[in-house]
């Protein structure tokens, strides 16, 4: 019986104001079969430092967090 803990970003959502909602899943697997899991969420808002984010989140943020989007978010 082998237990392993697998942490992954399993959901990335971009909402209208440019914020990126990130869900991280922590799964416990027994012999490769998931027996338990939980979610943790955070949001990367336009203008926030995303250098420590998952690579996919970084790529999305680099694409959509333009100066215009950041300015519009901060002005809202």
């Amino acid at each position: 019986m082998a237990l392993e803990k697998v942490i992954s970003v399993d959901l990335i959502e971009v909402i209208e104001n440019g914020s990126i909602q990130v869900r991280t899943k922590t799964a416990i697997k027994e012999d490769g079969v998931e027996i338990s899991s939980k979610f943790h969420r955070h949001v990367v808002v336009p203008g926030a430092d995303y250098s420590a984010e998952d690579a996919k989140v970084q790529a999305i943020a680099a694409s959509i967090h333009t100066a215009e989007v950041i300015a519009a978010y901060q002005a809202a």
Binding site: S19, Q21, F39, R41, H42, Y73
Partner: protein
Amino acid sequence: MADTKISALPASTTPLAGTEVLPIVQSGATKQVSVANLTAGRAISATQITLTAGNVIPANGYGVDFSATPGTGTSELFADYEEGTWTPTNIGGALVVVGTFSSSGTYTKIGKVVTVSGTLNGTTSVAITGGANVVCGGLPYSAAANTLCAGNAVNAAATSTASLYANSGVNVGSVTAMAATASIFFSITYLV
């Protein structure tokens, strides 16, 4: 194979795997269909469904449609439920931390409504200065624009409360001040 009544055949082993086949008549021709494909892609009508094990798993964007029930609204589709954790962040502002800051939080999202709870700690103390300032950030979902949703906080000794709110974005604000305490516990329900 000699003719045998269906009732005389041996009983199958359950649960079925889905790969078993049944004979059907389609457009006048006898064909076979697997158990798995018997209802695939078809609407199913029943008076009641009881699940003895397992869950109802709607595809993304689908859920439980209440449009046949009385009343109307902007949406009658219950398409999302989620529970999890979040981490309130100290971004300066109205939260005054003495010592090392730590925090934790949980959330429950039902449709467009999110209820969060959180705990803010300081190894020596935490306090809130009043005046509609930001207490913490890090909400698990970005709050909808042009909404202002209220919540409450209580200190560790349960002797003082403060009024909090979530505005558009991911920050929690406070309307009232709270004196230094070991921990601040709060809950807010807001819209996304």
